[in-house]
Structures are given as structure tokens and as C-alpha cells.
């Protein structure tokens, strides 16, 4: 069966078209205004940040030649022509990389546990009291706003040089970052199971345990793994301020122009992050697979 598309009479069509054009025009005007404001802000920011496109164009060659230099051994040969010479310090570097990963693991896990304990108090729909929510939220904001390396700078003075300062810095930063993400997941849950559990007379803790946690566990795990990935990178620079890990070696190599060492250490960091990335990706796949099946 075929049916013709009905065409409205011209008068009716005219009215509809006018209304449509008016609506679109308003939307376009708003879009244009927003774009203009955005560009104005960008220009102001460019002046504030002393952006010099000319310098950039003139010196971009340095960027390329820097990578050329870090790809060259002291003897002038390419690094890959003599792997043994390039990675002369691999034992020391590997141990430091292990320390870096361990710093981020311990820091992330401790931070995740604390964030897990705190986020239900900070989420809009599960928080027992507004003042508590406000306090915890401000606390988390503080923890994630102060960058981990600033915490590390201070903790190095308080706890002494070494990985301990790095771990605590990462832990505190993770509490703030994960707490926010966790509570956002909790705010997005379906509240019907919570009401169901509540209607049986369950306490707040039971509601969280049986109605909220099953809905959010996979999301939490996923964000924690992502955070672990981020923290491995964070831990790789903790050494810049003396808080353990590979960063110390790297900053010394950069500052003293040990070019081939820079490339060797960077390469090892990148490979480590790769492996962590692949590992967490696999773990996330497994976790979500399991959730879907259960």
C-alpha cells in the first residue's frame, strides 16, 4: 500500500515555517554570542599567558631538535645502535619504576578506601544531613584542589625525603578526586531499590549496602582503576620534589643534559604506563563483564 505524504496548505505552512525560523534564529543568535564571548576570553588569556606565536614559530625547531638530541648517545651514534649503552642504568631505573608503581598503588588504594567511606555522606541523595554533606564536600574540594605535588612538597618537609611523602600526597589527592566522582555516580543511581530496602525498615547502612553499592560498584571500580593510571603518572614526577620514585633520576638527567638518559627513562615510563593502561583496561572489561552477567 502506498500513501501520499500530505502537504499542508500554503497558509498553514507559512505560519509553521515562520515559527521555525524564529526559533532557529534565536538559537543561532545565542550561539554566536557565546562564541564571541568565548573568543574574547581566549584573547585575554593569550595576553595574560604571554603567548608569542612568533617565538613559537621561530623556536619550534628546538622542539624537534630536542628529540633529536635525546635520541643520540654521547658518542654521537643513534641510541638504538647500542641498547646496552642506552639503557646502562636499567637495573636502578627498573627498581625506581617499581617503587613509582607501588607508590601510586598504595596511595590510590588508601585514597579509594577513604573516598568510599566518605562519598555516601557527600552525595545529595544518600547524605544523612545537609551540614555533613557540606563539610565533607568542602574537605574533598580542598583535597583535590591542592595539587598532589604541592602536598608532596609540604610532606617532604614534614615526613622527610622519601616515598612516604609521595604516598600520602597521592592518597590525599585521590580522596578528593575519587570522592567527587563516586558521589556523582551515587547521585545518578535509580532510587527505587533504595526505597524498596528502606520500606522494609532497614537502617541507613543497610540501604547503602544492599541498594546503593550493587548499583555503583562497577562504576567505582572503573574510576579507581582510571585513577590508578593517573596516579602512576603523578608518581613519576613525585621525585622532582624528592618524594620518591623515578622522577628524581629524570629531573637530574634533564637538568644535567644527559640526553640519552632522558630518552631511556622517558621510554621506560611510557612503557610502564602502557602496561598499566592495558592491565586496567583488561580489568575493567572483566569487571563490567561480570556485572553484566550477574
Amino acid at each position: 500500500m502506498t500513501s501520499a505524504v500530505s502537504i499542508l496548505p500554503a497558509q498553514q505552512l507559512q505560519v509553521l515555517n515562520d515559527a521555525y525560523r524564529a526559533a532557529v534564529a534565536r538559537k543561532r543568535l545565542r550561539m554566536t554570542l557565546a562564541t564571541a564571548v568565548f573568543f574574547a576570553v581566549l584573547v585575554i588569556a593569550a595576553i595574560g599567558a604571554e603567548v608569542h606565536p612568533v617565538t613559537f614559530v621561530n623556536k619550534i625547531g628546538n622542539f624537534v631538535s630536542y628529540f633529536d638530541r635525546i635520541g643520540t648517545l654521547e658518542s654521537g651514534a643513534r641510541v638504538w645502535s647500542d641498547i646496552g649503552e642506552w639503557f646502562w642504568g636499567w637495573k636502578k631505573w627498573l627498581a625506581l619504576l617499581g617503587e613509582t608503581v607501588l607508590i601510586s598503588y598504595v596511595g590510590t588504594l588508601a585514597g579509594a578506601i577513604l573516598a568510599f567511606a566518605l562519598n555516601f555522606l557527600a552525595a545529595e541523595n544518600t547524605s544523612p544531613a545537609p551540614w555533613l554533606r557540606f563539610t565533607i564536600r568542602r574537605l574533598m574540594e580542598f583535597c583535590r584542589t591542592v595539587p598532589d605535588i604541592v602536598f608532596a612538597l609540604i610532606f617532604v618537609i614534614a615526613f622527610g625525603l622519601g616515598p612516604m611523602a609521595g604516598v600520602i600526597a597521592i592518597m590525599i589527592h585521590s580522596v578528593g578526586a575519587l570522592g567527587k566522582l563516586y558521589s556523582e555516580i551515587v547521585e545518578n543511581i535509580d532510587m527505587k531499590p533504595v526505597e524498596g530496602v528502606r520500606s522494609t525498615g532497614a537502617s541507613w547502612i543497610s540501604c547503602i549496602r544492599f541498594a546503593v553499592v550493587p548499583q555503583v560498584a562497577a562504576g567505582f571500580a572503573s574510576y579507581t582503576l582510571l585513577r590508578f593510571e593517573i596516579n602512576v603518572r603523578g608518581a613519576s614526577v613525585m621525585g622532582f620534589v624528592g618524594a620518591g620514585g623515578i622522577g628524581q633520576e629524570l629531573v637530574v638527567a634533564v637538568r644535567k643534559f644527559f640526553y640519552s638518559d632522558v630518552s631511556a627513562i622517558l621510554l621506560m615510563i611510557i612503557v610502564t604506563v602502557f602496561l598499566i593502561d592495558i592491565g586496567t583496561g583488561w580489568a575493567r572489561g572483566r569487571l563490567f563483564g561480570k556485572e553484566a552477567r550477574a
Binding site: 576570553v41 581566549l42 588569556a45 593569550a46 595576553i47 595574560g48 599567558a49 604571554e50 603567548v51 608569542h52 617565538t55 613559537f56 623556536k59 619550534i60 628546538n62 622542539f63 630536542y66 617503587e99 607501588l102 607508590i103 598503588y105 598504595v106 588504594l109 588508601a110 574540594e141 580542598f142 583535590r144 584542589t145 591542592v146 595539587p147 605535588i149 604541592v150 612538597l153 609540604i154 610532606f155 618537609i157 614534614a158 615526613f159 622527610g160 622519601g162 616515598p163 612516604m164 604516598v167 603518572r233 603523578g234 613519576s236 614526577v237 622532582f240 620534589v241 620518591g244 629524570l250 629531573v251 634533564v254 622517558l266 615510563i269 611510557i270 610502564t272 602502557f274 593502561d277 561480570k290
Partner: protein
């Protein structure tokens, strides 16, 4: 009056064996995983030389430092700090925008539903990963070598570091998009670019915009630290004051950062709602 029938547990067991008789491997998987995680945690504590004595000594030291931080006091260098803060905000804003503009086209190449062939996708992904594997601070060190000390090196460092992160996040957002709308465009005769423009982008842009806004907020924090290696902004002042143990100035600087980030946070959440809310209605 109706009575609830008591559930026949035998019948239920027969009908859903996979719920009642899960194999030991699946029942023990989660406890085993938690145990392993905890084991590595303890190993880490030992390996990284954690000890209650050091912890206590450090905490008491930290208590002292906190006492010395009160009250926060700029001590006459307020104008310098305000300029540095402005620099930091500019770095964050420019760096994020630059990164997002560069990452959008590249993320299309890294998304499975746009580039089905792994041969093209794989190198792009690994390229993004290796950029992401290097921390912003390291990029800042590199860029200082190129354009000299100052905030411009910071902008470039943030742009490059975020380029990697955005590429990954955007491509994940694109992969999560609903296929039906793309198929609808194709069914009505659109070509590949039409599919991206009218099928994917309307779904993906609000997500991307949310992520960019979140990154501007988080980059304000990153931008505060790249000063530690000399790439401009408030971090330079902060690191210097910590090194000379001027705790009152340190706490003042930290407060300034907090206020600035809170302001950015507020603005970005307003914008995010404006963007997402509009989409939800349309």
C-alpha cells in the same frame, strides 16, 4: 483476601541453578581479588618504609606546620600573587582549548565505530597513550627548552598533555554513542561526513563539552604546579615560599588557589548544566 504464596525454594533452585549453585570459582573470585589487593597493599607499606614511628613524627611535624600557617598572610606581595594567579588561569584556559581543538579530529580516528580497521586505529591509540604517559610537568620541562621560561611553555605543556587525555576520552565518548541515529542518517542517504556531523556529533558534543569544562577546572590545578619547574603561574611563588618555610605566605597562596578553583568550578558547572539541559529538552 489473598495470601502470598510461600516461595517454593526447591522449584526456584531447579529453575535458576546459576543463581543458587554458583561454582566455587565465581563465588571466591571477589574475596580472592580483595585479598590479593590487600596483600600488595601491605607489601607496599613495608617496601616504602612506612613505620608507625615515622608516621607519628611526621604528623606532629605537620601539626606544627599547620599551626605556623595560621593566619594566612601575603606579607605585602599580594599584587605579585594576583598577577601570577591570572597567569595560571590563562594557562589553564588556553591549554585546554588548544588541546580540545587538536584532539577532536584525532579522536575520530581512534574510535572503533568510525575507523573499523585496527591497522589505522592502533597506531593512533598508541600515539595518544604515549603522550598521555608523560606527565604535564615533564612536558613543561621539554617546552621550557623550546620556548624558554615563562607561561607560554606552560600553555604548550598543558595542551600537549591534555591532547593525549582528550583523544582517549573523546574517542570513548564517540564509541559509546548510539548507533541508531547514525544508521538513520545513512538510511536517508547521508554520506560518512553527514553521519559524523548529524548522527554522532549531536550525541557526543554535550559529553565532550562536559569533559572539556571539567578539564579546565582540573587544569587550573595542573597550571598551579607547572611553575615548580619554571613554566609560569602561581606555582613558582608557591614552591619558593615552601622552600624558604614562609608558611603564612604558603597558606595564603593555597587559599588563593582554592578560591580560584572554586570560582572556575562554579562557572563550569553552570555552563555544563546550560549545555546538557538544553540538549535534554531538544
Amino acid at each position: 483476601m489473598t495470601r502470598l504464596l510461600a516461595p517454593d525454594s526447591g522449584d526456584l533452585r531447579g529453575r535458576y541453578p546459576e543463581v543458587f549453585d554458583r561454582p566455587a570459582s565465581s563465588r571466591l573470585a571477589i574475596p580472592a581479588m580483595l585479598l590479593a589487593a590487600f596483600g600488595i597493599f601491605v607489601f607496599g607499606l613495608v617496601e616504602l618504609e612506612f613505620s608507625p614511628a615515622r608516621m607519628l613524627a611526621g604528623l606532629s611535624q605537620l601539626g606544627w606546620i599547620t599551626m605556623m600557617m595560621i593566619p594566612p598572610d601575603p606579607g605585602g606581595s599580594l599584587p605579585v600573587y594576583l598577577v601570577a594567579l591570572g597567569e595560571t588561569l590563562s594557562i589553564a584556559m588556553l591549554g585546554t582549548t588548544l588541546a580540545a581543538l587538536l584532539a577532536l579530529p584525532v579522536s575520530l580516528l581512534a574510535a572503533r565505530n568510525i575507523v573499523p580497521s585496527g591497522i589505522f586505529r592502533f597506531p593512533v591509540r598508541r600515539f595518544l597513550d604515549s603522550i598521555r604517559g608523560v606527565d604535564t610537568l615533564i612536558w613543561a620541562l621539554v617546552w621550557i627548552n623550546v620556548v624558554g621560561l615563562g607561561p607560554f611553555a606552560g600553555v604548550l605543556a598543558i595542551a600537549v598533555a591534555d591532547f593525549g587525555a582528550f583523544g582517549k576520552l573523546f574517542s570513548e565518548a564517540i564509541e559509546a554513542a548510539d548507533k541508531k541515529q547514525v544508521e538513520g542518517i545513512r538510511a536517508s542517504g547521508g554520506n560518512a561526513l553527514h553521519e559524523i556531523r548529524f548522527g554522532l556529533m549531536p550525541q557526543v558534543l554535550p559529553v565532550i563539552a562536559g569533559q572539556v569544562l571539567y578539564f579546565i577546572e582540573s587544569n587550573t590545578r595542573s597550571a598551579t604546579i607547572i611553575g615548580i619547574v619554571g613554566a609560569g603561574g602561581i606555582g613558582l611563588q608557591l614552591a619558593e615560599q615552601i622552600r624558604v618555610l614562609e608558611w603564612q605566605k604558603v597558606s595564603f597562596l593555597i587559599l588563593m588557589i582554592l578560591v580560584a578553583v572554586a570560582a572556575i568550578d562554579w562557572i563550569s558547572s553552570k555552563l555544563r548544566f546550560a549545555i546538557i539541559g538544553k540538549r535534554a529538552v531538544a
